[in-house]
Symmetry: D3
Subunit: 161 residues, 6 copies
């Protein structure tokens, strides 16, 4: 199989999807921000009481999903029909981020979902960096995708992350 973003001379190009059918597609991506427990507790209480880091990260992630094709050079522009971000703070020191994106189009939206997770993670970092510079953004990965000719993809949950 070929790296489809390269033509026969090895130069980059936007893959030609002109002949592809428009189908309903969705993608789910996830990622984590690992941080000091004190930072994590501040985000957690802030989300409930007053300052809401996650509300800002959520807006940033949704806006980034819409801007994906302007950031990733070979990505096709897509008029996404849905973008949703979720956060889980179950394990101390870890903010888990999930992004679901949908479209009716000729290509998938995994880049949109991954970009939403990445920018939400960067926003969390930005808003907490005054108290914690050692945060790490990790495990940004595609969990599931559906629609289109390549069929349903579901990440093996036992796979090493």
């Amino acid at each position: 199989m070929d790296l489809t973003h390269f033509d026969s001379e090895g130069r980059a190009r936007m893959v030609d999807v002109s002949e592809k059918a428009e189908t309903a597609r969705f993608a789910l991506a996830k990622g984590r921000v690992r941080m000091e427990t004190g930072t994590w507790e501040r985000i957690k209480s802030g989300g409930i009481e007053k300052g809401d880091v996650l509300a800002v990260a959520q807006v940033a992630g949704i806006m980034a999903a819409k801007r994906t094709s302007a950031l990733i050079p070979m990505c096709h522009p897509l008029a996404i029909t849905s973008a949703k971000l979720d956060f889980a703070l179950e394990e101390p020191g870890i903010v888990e981020i999930g992004a679901t994106v949908k479209v009716t189009g000729k290509t998938g939206v995994e880049m949109e979902a991954l970009t939403a997770v990445s920018v939400a993670a960067l926003t969390i970092y930005d808003m907490c960096k005054a108290i914690d510079k050692t945060m790490v953004m990790s495990d940004i990965r595609l969990m599931e995708k559906a629609g289109g000719k390549s069929g349903h993809f579901r990440r093996n949950p036992e796979a090493q992350e």
Copy 2:
């Protein structure tokens, strides 16, 4: 210490840096894309022979560094004076990304460096996803930063990533 992005009512704001001095600042961030060995070999040979995934990722990362304040809601706009991305393919299955950004300004450029790494990683994912959907973007973190009142930060190399 406070989460500086929230005012006394807990609402988000852009931190007021009006009174800060303009100083020379730099930041170095790193991150990794983990992938199947076959994908990694394709990138590696492509970089030398013909199709160059890393050349595209590098351009994407530099352009993203310039767009950081448009992506991260509370980030200050900064006229960066230097942006540089490096890639290392030493360990099979791992592309290591490094980004160095400089500015003479009132705030630091760690978000610019982290954004450059993230978007370069997303670009690598995008260009290889036809052959490998299980790639993971990880360990995106600040390594070093200098300039400004908060002083020199250097990540403890022994710290868990």
Copy 3:
């Protein structure tokens, strides 16, 4: 009825329009810039003779209509098929702005029309602020919208503005 931009946990999201049909839609929005009579006369004559504030405002409004989904966080990206701005200078001291936007899509274009009016108004302010800082942008409102399941909306002309 629900505030559709919030999910069941109260977090913001882009409303899922995946299942909606693509229909022809249009929206008409209006707004006003109130200013000193002297400023208004300058704009009026300028529009005919030489400097044309309204020509610049018109371009700005059309370009803003295309950028709506990048400005308004929960707005869906839409490939609009028509954007038109009109100005009326009938009442001394008042520039009336009208914007009509069309699309064939899954959601309406009222935000595009309102954004076009707002940015045209801001542009008029910007171009005249050297001679008049007291201008006020007002009565920015949806006049009419058609297409889609929610049916035809026409603003009651007797309604308080």
Copy 4:
């Protein structure tokens, strides 16, 4: 006094501020969204309990302040050093929006403050339009500005809005 955005032939241009000194500047703008009392109550309770229209509007306003020169054709690009949005829900049916922007630069930031108010107002409209299409954005105006050669401006509070 001249409409400074036009040259001697009447064509639009970006005013030449090359010779101006860099000074500390700030601007305060205000505006209102008028709506049905039921909508207003939903926003008010949402702001306290769960769904937070104003949190999203605030992020949108701050991001718009940074993008002002990309929206308003003759506006100079400025690296703003502070942006803050406030909302007051004192009078039933009215959301009052205030935006304060600061910069150290060669031109003022009134357009940035006015743009922040306008986009925050548009975002409130967008998030509530499913329950209320008759909302009106009004009284968007400059309240105060300081810094630069033109001196301190403070809007006469008795002036008609």
Copy 5:
């Protein structure tokens, strides 16, 4: 025939394409950068050996194709399905640039192809300007376009360029 971008009062507008059918369309544009032979040789060898001016210009051109409607005021937003840039260095001192863009849409993509060529040319200029300030970007023109009601257009090769 009329200048379709002006309404009956002579004001600019985005042409209303709402009633047009969606058809498969493509456009091919070309252009040249003329430069000193020494510069040209550096680009040529660089492309093979080490620094690759054309790889950066290619990415810039593809990204610009996607941003066309944000740059050209009356251009319709289009979700392009393919963008491809080619370079030829056959004649010493001349880099020939070609861009092919495709879409399924209501309007053509000639502006996207011409914008891609222009931005690729500007990028070549930018990357070589330290050694050659006299480069000239020329002969940027539409070569061929297909799809839509206006039929197939093919530039007469004998026409003066």
Copy 6:
């Protein structure tokens, strides 16, 4: 002398200008759009009487100057202090475009001036393409630049264009 946009491994980077002094800089670029005489006459009369292609092109060029660093990958972001576009219709069939840009900064503004000319030319093309598809954009070149260490550059008027 080196192609400064490449590091020692031949990879592209944004040139490090951190150590450069901020100086007053300006650049003047020019270009031409060649077209059928009938098209040219329409633009000329339109510019005086009613529809004004050049007014739209002028706004587009000024806005593009501000967006240069987002289009050209290795360009530094610069807060330009002046942008001015002029058009001359002296020779039948030729629209001559001139752009002057100023900044106080660490790098020059030739790319901003050249980008303004290119986008103004593309806008003229876009607005007239319904009546003339054979227009050619040519002779886009730097005429003069001042400020910074590299000294005053003035294009030799006898040089082949």
